[in-house]
C-alpha cells in the first residue's frame, strides 16, 4: 500500500514526517476529510471556527495529492 503524508496548516504548520499507508488516493481523501472535521470539532469547543485552515496530502514522492481547506470539509447551513 502507498504511504501518504498529511500536513496540517492551522495556527501552526504541523508537517507529517511519518505518514501512513492507505489503499489509494480516495482513502487518503476520506482520511483528510475525517481529520479536518475532527479538527474543526476541536475549534468549535473553543468557540471559534476558522475555515481557512487546511490539510495537504502528499504522496511518497512529495507530490500534492490533495489540498483540502476546512471550508470544503463541511457544509454551512446559515438560517
Amino acid at each position: 500500500m502507498p504511504r501518504f503524508f498529511f500536513n496540517v496548516y492551522d495556527t501552526i504548520d504541523a508537517l507529517d514526517d511519518e505518514g501512513f499507508c492507505l489503499p489509494d488516493a480516495a482513502a487518503a481523501r476520506r482520511e483528510a476529510l475525517l481529520s479536518a472535521r475532527a479538527l474543526i470539532c476541536e475549534q468549535v469547543k473553543l468557540g471559534t471556527i476558522n475555515l481557512s485552515y487546511r490539510i495537504e496530502v502528499l504522496d511518497e514522492s512529495g507530490n500534492t495529492v490533495l489540498d483540502l481547506p476546512y471550508s470544503a470539509a463541511v457544509d454551512i447551513v446559515d438560517v
Binding site: F6, V8, I12, A14, D17, E18, F20, E31, A38, E42
Partner: protein
Amino acid sequence: MPDLHPTFDGMVRRLERRSPLGEDDRRALKHVQHSLRRVPAGGHIIRDGDRPEYCSLLLSGFAYRYKITGEGARQIISIHMAGEFLDLQNGFLQLADHSVQTLTEAEIALIPSQVIEELALTRPAIGRTLWIDTLIDASIFREWVVNVGRRDSRARVAHILCEFSLRLEAAGLAKGHTYELPMTQEQLADAVGLTSVHVNRVLKQLGEQGLISRDKRRLVIEDWARLRDVGDFNERYLHHDATAMAA
C-alpha cells in the same frame, strides 16, 4: 527444563514489589511450565472470541490489547512491555473478550491456563500477587476510559506520553523521560481515540510549546512538569510505589 529467560527474573521482581513471595513461590514462578514463541511485529497472540489455552507473558518487545467496533474502528485499550502478562484473565475466563497483538517483534512465554490457575490457588502468596497485578491492569484501564472519554486531544496525547515514560522507566527501558516510542502515529491515534492526522498535529504542537522533542521515534520529554499538567497526569493509578501490606 527450558533455559530460563532473564525476563522471568524481571517478572518475579515486579510481582514481588506488589506483595511478598517466599523462596518456594519465587522458584515456582521462575520455573513455571511454559513454551516460548517468537511473534513478528503485528502478529496476533490471541483474538477476540478465541478459547484461550494459555496465558502469555511478554518477554521482549511490545504488545497491545484492542477491540474493534462494528464499524471496523480499532480502539487500543492497553500497551504492554517486557515482564508483563498480556492476558492473565484467560487463566480463569473461558473466552477471550478482546484481541492481543504485538507492536514490535516479541518473544512470549505461553503458560497453560490450568498451570496459572493451579499456581494461584495452591500458593496464596502467588495468587495474591497475580490478583494485585490484574487489579493494577484494571486501574490503568480506568484511567484510559477517562482519557478517551473526558480529556481534550492535547491532554490525551500528553497523558499517554507521561504514562509511557514512567512505565518504561519502571521496566528499565527508559531513563530521564527519554524513550523510543514503540508505536506509529496511527497506533497512538487508536490508543487515544483520535485520527492519526490529529495526533501528528498535537505532537507538533507539544513540540512547538517546548514540552517534548522528537527525532523519528525517539521522544524526549523536555518539560515534565508542564507535560504532566497539560496531560492532567497523576501517576497514582500506576501504583508503582504500592507495596501491598503483607497478608
